[in-house]
């Protein structure tokens, strides 16, 4: 018995010499209760499990995010994460001014930093010198959505519903869409629908009364997608109006299956948890880094892959 214990001890000692141990943290503005970030956390954990199994090294990961959106708490969490001297950090740059100092300090300490979900929007010279960005591109998403619709047919008039005015991500999606449509000679504009479904539908009805030639709608999130789908059904407009959506939800998946919606865009946030862990490992172990930012979105869900997504939504990948 003693011999076995001694052998185990020896083996673990030898093991610890050859097998490395890495700790990576994700610090985000999104709380763990938010379903969106639940998917990111799953991606992070899956990447760690994969590396632990595949490499023989020990990879420890943890996710930090304030329960309610709070920049102060985010910075506090970031500071404690840096104090723990991890082998790598992945951080959302929601508020560049607030995370600028802590992240520059972390980088000066030699901690590799990756931006996820939201990049630093400033020009390259002023930007926080993180290694690269893993996430979606909102503006590009809007552009691609418009291109996708135009490839089906050229609408007479297009409208973008926006449920949260002033949300910079939504505004960028709308901007990309409207620019492409306008360049193609299709009049396009934003329509504020708000959060209340009853009002949203009357707003849409009012818009269609004013502009009966409207035959394309782009929604910017799952909330307005649900209202627009209901509106098209109630008015008997399904099939007559090209509908492109954003984010994956039950309503939108069903609408794609039923042929009401053409597609929905996802930023495939699973990858925003998964890829940083893999790259931080590769960087720590071999010094590899990608030459460019890694765009996880726009990813498209349409009739061709919706059956796959339906199942994966239940398993928490979307």
């Amino acid at each position: 018995m003693k011999k076995v214990l001694l052998l185990a001890l020896l083996l673990s000692l030898v093991g610890s010499v050859f097998a490395a141990e890495y700790t990576f943290y994700i610090v985000s503005h999104g709380g763990p209760g938010d379903p969106f970030w639940g998917v990111v956390m799953k991606g992070m954990q899956d990447a760690a499990d994969f590396l632990n199994k595949a490499t023989g090294d020990t990879i420890k990961v943890a996710y930090f995010g304030p329960k309610v959106y709070s920049v102060t708490e985010l910075v506090d969490m970031l500071n404690s994460a840096i104090a723990a001297r991890p082998n790598g950090l992945a951080v959302t740059i929601t508020d560049p001014a607030a995370v600028d100092e802590p992240l520059r300090r972390a980088i000066a300490l030699g901690i590799p930093v990756i931006a996820i979900n939201v990049p630093d929007p400033r020009p390259a010279a002023e930007r926080i010198p993180y290694m690269f960005y893993v996430g979606g591109d909102e503006y590009l998403s809007g552009k691609r959505a418009a291109e996708r619709m135009l490839s089906v047919r050229k609408p007479t008039r297009a409208v973008v519903t926006i449920h949260e005015v002033g949300h910079i991500g939504l505004e960028l999606r709308a901007q990309g869409f409207i620019e492409v449509m306008t360049a193609a000679g299709v009049p396009a504009e934003k329509l504020v629908t708000g959060l209340d479904p009853t009002q949203a539908i009357e707003i849409l009805r009012g818009y269609f009364t004013r502009h009966p030639d409207t035959d394309a709608i782009f929604t910017l999130g799952s909330i307005d997608s649900a209202y627009v789908i209901q509106f098209l059904k109630e008015e008997g407009l399904t099939g007559k109006v090209l509908l492109g959506c954003f984010d994956v939800s039950q309503d939108v998946v069903k609408a794609i299956e039923d042929g009401i919606a053409l597609f929905t865009i996802s930023q495939q946030q699973y990858l925003q948890g998964y890829m940083p862990i893999i790259w931080l490992y590769l960087y720590n172990k071999y010094g590899f880094r990608p030459a460019n930012d890694i765009l996880t979105g726009p990813g498209f869900v349409d009739a061709s892959n919706v059956h796959l997504v339906t199942e994966l939504v239940k398993q928490g990948y979307w």
Binding site: G33, D34, Q199, T209, R210
Partner: protein, 322 residues
């Protein structure tokens, strides 16, 4: 001539006079500028928006006349809708879900009322806390996901089905609630108590009016009506997301104030609340049909609110000083 003078004087002394004039002006304005504004479809659409908002506004007006506030109505709408949705997806009979949803609203209203009356903390603060608390509970229970129900029933139709063109059953509930409450307010002893409680609580107390009980009952009423609006909304959309009802409290208070109800209590009108809610709905649809960019809607409502409040306060002063 003197008859006409007396008539206009009597008319302008009513709390809903200001909103009536504003409503008429905007109605004519939109009829001239907005495409297809004067159609049955468009009017029905306005009524549909006004119905849900108006049911909540009616409850808030009743409470405001008694001198208190309720900022939690948006969250209560969310809680009730959520309970209705969750019980429906769990397979419970819809009538049970509806009663549970309204019961929960009543309990929240009771807690609000008892807290305000017994702690003497202003209702603004108590119901602001209540608003955050219940919104937080919704978020925690749903973890941010919407609740979707795919079924149907006669009760769901009775709550908010479409029965003629764009006209929905919610309009019927709206009118029922407003006229019932207007009757109670103007024709019953309880109505007098409500005015007295808000107008001069000390005097009311010495007259033996149970002002605490009046306030608690009105808090419960305000919450139940917000809950009813939540259930009506669920009956149409069959889904509730965790943001449902957010910001509604301010729109309802705005509609009540536009309708001639004073923030200080003791003065107000249910018919004014009805017109206030209709006016908000009309501005929404009218601006869009007139081709105004939708980013301007909120600014326009702000102007209407300020102008209406100024006119209302002038009218009340003139009326009370005579």
């Amino acid at each position: 001539m003197s008859f006409l003078k007396a008539f206009t004087k009597k008319l302008s002394s009513r709390p809903e006079f200001g909103v009536f004039v504003a409503f008429a002006i905007l109605f004519v304005g939109f009829s001239l500028t907005a495409t297809n504004f004067l159609t049955f479809e468009s009017i029905a659409g306005i009524v549909t928006v006004a119905a849900e908002l108006g049911i909540v506004t009616a409850g808030i007006t009743f409470l405001m006349i008694a001198g208190e506030f309720d900022l939690s109505v948006g969250s209560v709408l969310g809680v009730s809708g959520m309970i209705f949705a969750i019980t429906a997806t769990a397979g419970l009979p819809h009538i049970v879900g509806l009663l549970l949803a309204l019961g929960a609203a009543a309990v929240i209203g009771l807690i609000n009322g008892v807290m305000v009356v017994h702690t003497e903390v202003p209702s603004f603060i108590i119901t602001l806390g209540s608003q955050m608390l219940w919104r937080g509970v919704i978020l925690a229970v749903t973890r941010g996901f919407p609740v979707r129900y795919w079924g149907d029933s006669a009760l769901l139709f009775a709550l908010n089905g479409r029965f003629a063109g764009q006209l929905r059953v919610s309009a019927f509930w709206f009118l029922t609630v407003v006229f019932l409450l207007a009757f109670v307010l103007t024709r019953t002893r309880y109505g007098n108590w409500v005015f007295a409680t808000g107008g001069g609580p000390q005097a009311a107390k010495t007259l033996g009016i149970p002002i605490n009980r009046v306030k608690i009952v009105n808090f419960i009423l305000s919450a139940i009506l917000a809950g009813l609006a939540g259930c009506i909304q669920f009956a149409r959309f069959r889904s509730i997301d965790p943001t449902r009802g957010q910001g509604l409290e301010l729109e309802a208070i705005a509609a009540a104030v536009i309708g001639g109800t004073l923030m200080t209590g003791g003065y107000g009108s249910l018919i004014g609340a009805l017109l206030g809610a209709l006016l908000v709905g009309m501005v929404r649809s009218g601006l869009i049909m007139a081709g105004a960019p939708s980013y301007w809607y909120q600014a326009f409502i702000g102007i209407v609110l300020i102008v209406a409040s100024v006119v209302n306060i002038r009218l009340t002063r003139r009326w009370t000083s005579r």
